[in-house]
């Protein structure tokens, strides 16, 4: 039987690095997925991934198990996502939308060449619209729309009221719909 998170946490605290890896490999794909969807860049997602798990590694000795490990981890992930963008904004004046640095978009396979071009344009517009959102709006939209997380769970992760999360989601949707009105939505 595979060890529980708590057992792995105890082993990690005792200095067992293999246990630490086993623990984080249970969740790291989710963290990377959230980061990728939030930043839309594999390089930025990797940065966030490293930052999240470095923080987990440093803080694990103080983790007392008052919440689930996953809840704690996702809280760290949302914090890093939110501060990552503001740090980037503060440090360099780069365009928010960087074609060089973006993740691959998979065009639907059954469509013809013309449709591919059209899809790419639509994707670009959607990405631009997402980049107009504030970090919190974007994060809530990402977690609810792409990760299918419940709003009450997102509220716990972001350490705010559920009503606030609802507000972010609504505002995000409205902003994006306005920006994408050319696409008849």
């Amino acid at each position: 039987m595979s060890p529980t998170d708590l057992e792995l946490i105890e082993q990690s605290k005792a200095g067992n690095f293999t246990a630490f890896e086993q623990l984080i490999y249970r969740y790291d794909k989710d963290v990377l997925t959230i980061a990728s969807r939030f930043t839309q860049s594999s390089d930025d997602a990797k940065d966030i991934y490293q930052d999240v798990f470095l923080r987990v590694y440093r803080a694990l000795p103080k983790f007392e198990g008052r919440s689930e490990f996953s809840t704690w981890l996702y809280k760290i992930t949302t914090n890093v996502c939110l501060t990552y963008r503001s740090r980037k904004k503060k440090m360099m004046a780069v365009p928010l939308y960087d074609d060089q640095n973006e993740l691959t978009i998979d065009p639907p396979s059954e469509k013809n060449e013309d449709n591919h071009t059209e899809d790419f344009e639509v994707s670009s517009k959607i990405r631009q619209a997402m980049n107009l959102l504030s970090p919190k709006q974007k994060l809530v939209f990402t977690l609810r729309h792409f990760q299918d997380l419940k709003l009450k769970d997102i509220a716990v992760m972001m350490d705010c009221a559920e009503g606030t999360v609802k507000k972010y989601l609504f505002e995000a949707t409205q902003k994006m719909r306005t920006h994408l009105k050319d696409l008849s939505v």
Binding site: F17, T18, E21, Y25, D28, K29, L32, T33, S36, R37, Q40, S42, A45, K46, Y49, Q50, F53, L54, Y57, R58, L103, T104, I105, D106, P108, D119, V122, S123, I126, R127, M130, R144, H145, F146, K150, L151, K166, L169, F170, T173, Q174, M176, R177, L180, L183, S184, V185
Partner: protein, 321 residues
């Protein structure tokens, strides 16, 4: 109900996030406002459009790459904080507190005495206020232990007592056969976590030599070898790991690791060693199915090295014969 309020409820309803009260409210509103249906359709259309056109895939290679970088970063994280840097950090932190003026001088004195103790190993500490807890801890400490990561719990020496927390590192000597669990634990640790390339190389060499003589370490060591083969930054270590793994019974896990090296390793020598190992396994009677052939075909398309490409082509031919 205001327009914005019903629009928010409408949006939440598409995510199944309405509570009972909100649901009733929205249904009631919808009865007297049939135009709401069109708005609902527009929201759903928008959601479909976004989901359908932003399909961000986190590939396995991105996960592997991230894990590899993380392991390297954590390895250096563990190694970078030496006794000196940690002590310096604590020292600086101590003097950045709000009571720095009041207790700075006392702190300097306390730290000075502690440092003096470690430097000179003075025996004159029986009456020294700073040495009480150190002395107590010292009782359970081996003389060869090194002290690291000192943290002040109570740096205020005004009451005559200071309190520290610290870690001790004790050198150990271990001699044993490769199948000894303790030995295997150390070998696995060294393979995965040791920052010194030479030590990882010697570790993997020791495992290879023992394996050649028929002494096999358990599956955790084998897993560590596979990870070294795939992820170690030093090609020498990766090469030795491959040599060691060849002594083990050929199985799907090893086959996949070799295919991984063939596809991902930037060092052509490693890719040649991988295809050689696959070839040897085939000659030894191991069967390769269509999945392997497909992976090799993919490799043929991406491989820039003619020699490796030809070897892969021949290997595929052999599979289908």
């Amino acid at each position: 109900m205001k327009k914005e309020e019903y629009e928010e409820l409408l949006l939440l309803s598409t995510y199944g996030e309405l509570n009972a009260e909100e649901q009733v409210k929205l249904e009631k509103y919808a009865k007297s406002h049939p135009e709401i249906k069109a708005e609902l359709e527009r929201i759903q259309e928008f959601q479909k459009l976004v989901k359908g056109n932003i399909s961000i895939q986190v590939s396995d290679s991105l996960v592997e790459e991230s894990r590899k970088e993380l392991r390297q970063m954590l390895r250096s994280e563990r190694n970078k904080k030496t006794f000196v840097t940690r002590s310096a950090e604590q020292f600086v932190q101590f003097f950045q507190g709000p009571l720095k003026l009041a207790f700075g001088g006392t702190g300097v004195l306390a730290v000075g005495i502690v440092v003096g103790y470690f430097v000179f190993h003075s025996a004159q500490n029986e009456n020294g206020f700073a040495f009480q807890s150190i002395k107590n801890s010292n009782n359970s400490r081996d003389q060869s232990s090194q002290i690291t990561n000192i943290k002040f719990i109570d740096g205020d020496a005004s009451d005559g007592i200071v309190e520290f927390e610290f870690e001790t590192v004790t050198p150990m000597h271990l001699k044993g056969k490769i199948d000894n669990p303790e030995v295997q634990k150390i070998l696995t640790y060294a393979l995965l976590n040791e920052s010194n390339d030479g030590i990882r190389l010697r570790t993997v060499n020791a495992i290879a030599q023992q394996a050649e003589q028929g002494h096999f370490a358990d599956s955790s060591v084998k897993q560590a070898l596979i990870r070294s083969l795939k992820e170690d930054e030093n090609p020498g270590v990766r090469g030795k790991a491959l040599r060691a793994l060849q002594q083990y019974r050929f199985d799907d896990e090893l086959r996949d690791a070799l295919l991984y090296v063939l596809a991902k390793d930037k060092n052509s020598g490693m890719r040649i060693a991988a295809i050689n190992a696959l070839e040897t396994a085939r000659i030894d009677g191991n069967k390769f199915d269509d999945t392997v052939a497909q992976k090799l075909k993919q490799q043929i398309e991406n491989e820039k090295n003619n020699y490796i490409r030809n070897r892969a082509v021949n290997f595929v031919k052999e599979i289908y014969q």
